[in-house]
């Protein structure tokens, strides 16, 4: 359940920002999660409510922007989209892929009062 540790990381960042801005209420939290990151959005949504209880993030809406996985195909020298690791290049079928994007898990923005 590393998703719980990830949710606590989100809440820590939110608490810092809310404190900096002297705010008391968080309306929404926007995350960016890549398809090749270490957590699934549905697992984060599931854990978030529990992790946010009795914190400034309690009751905040969680919006997750899902970003595609992108890799550089070393065989056909092209940037291609992949849904998961271990997939072949959709153009040439090669597995010589270097992931270039889609590993991120970021807190993008907050809506606060």
């Amino acid at each position: 359940m590393h998703e719980m540790a990830i949710c606590l990381g989100i809440i820590q960042i939110v608490e810092e920002k809310v404190h900096e801005r002297s705010s008391s209420r968080v309306r929404s939290i926007c995350l960016e999660m890549g398809a090749l990151s270490h957590a699934a959005p549905e697992a984060i949504r599931f854990c978030f409510a529990a992790a946010a209880t009795r914190t400034v993030a309690e009751g905040a809406a969680l919006n997750i922007v899902e970003l595609p996985g992108v890799a550089w195909c070393m065989s056909c020298s092209k940037s291609v989209e992949i849904a998961r690791r271990g997939e072949c290049c959709p153009c040439c079928g090669s597995y010589h892929l270097q992931v270039t994007a889609g590993e991120q898990m970021r807190v993008k923005e907050l809506e606060i009062d």
């Binding site: 960042i13 801005r21 705010s23 690791r85 606060i112 009062d113």
Partner: protein, 229 residues
């Protein structure tokens, strides 16, 4: 009247862990230490592999081990019985080691300057992949009893590792395990991963493992010298 404001943040969720990991890495480099974070499923033979490796490596350099398990200090005791300092971390309900736990444990070890620190992560092929501990690199250990397609089933940990150690090769005659296929699957998720086949029980393949470790030491030394120029 309250006004709703939009605040841009753009911060990595694991920022805090990554910051502590960067601190650990600074300490390790200052102590001229190679640090390997060993990942595997439970029962792949990490501890048996480590007991053999540290017993042999301790003759030529300082070696220490940080052991991570949910409960017990059995593994640290096995390493200590081999004559090498070991610190046990019990993660309780947590499924992985994080950088702060390693920072604390490292302070409890004697100075290992110029040597090797092995971190045996919690037996789990999913969660530990996400957490940088400050290591030189990650090593995934998997045994031939687990099936050739493990790298495809648990790709994150194979993608994050620099070396895959295939263990329990002494059982090859009893099992139909295709080493070539396992390597092909691992390279589908990580085309650059190095591979060494060993038996922690008989010692087969350990010379190749030590040669690989020496190459990492050379690489780290060159990187350090380049930085100093």
């Amino acid at each position: 009247m309250t006004r709703t404001r939009l605040v841009e943040i753009e911060r990595d969720i694991l920022d805090k862990n990554n910051g502590i990991a960067a601190n650990n890495r600074g300490l390790f480099v200052a102590d001229d230490l190679l640090v390997f974070n060993l990942l595997s499923s439970p029962g792949a033979g990490k501890t048996t592999l480590l007991v053999r490796a540290v017993s042999e490596l301790k003759c030529s350099r300082w070696v220490g081990v940080i052991e991570g398990d949910q409960q017990t200090s059995n593994d640290a005791k096995r390493i200590q019985a081999a004559g090498v300092p070991a610190v046990q971390i019990n993660t309780g309900k947590n499924c992985h080691l994080d950088a702060a736990m390693i920072g604390d444990a490292y302070r409890r070890l004697p100075l290992l300057s110029g040597g090797i620190l092995f971190i045996e992560n919690v037996g789990n092929l999913i969660c530990p992949a996400a957490f940088d501990l400050g290591e030189t690199c990650k090593i995934v250990v998997f045994s031939i009893t687990e099936g050739e397609d493990k790298p495809l089933k648990y790709p994150d940990v194979f993608a994050a590792s620099s070396l895959m150690v295939i263990n329990k090769i002494d059982l090859a005659s009893l099992l139909e395990f295709d080493v070539g296929k396992a390597i092909e699957y691992a390279r589908r998720v990580n085309p650059k991963i190095d591979v060494i086949v060993v038996s922690a029980r008989t010692g087969e393949g350990f010379a190749a493992l030590y040669a690989w470790i020496d190459r990492q030491a050379g690489r780290q030394r060159r990187a350090f010298e380049d930085k100093g120029r």
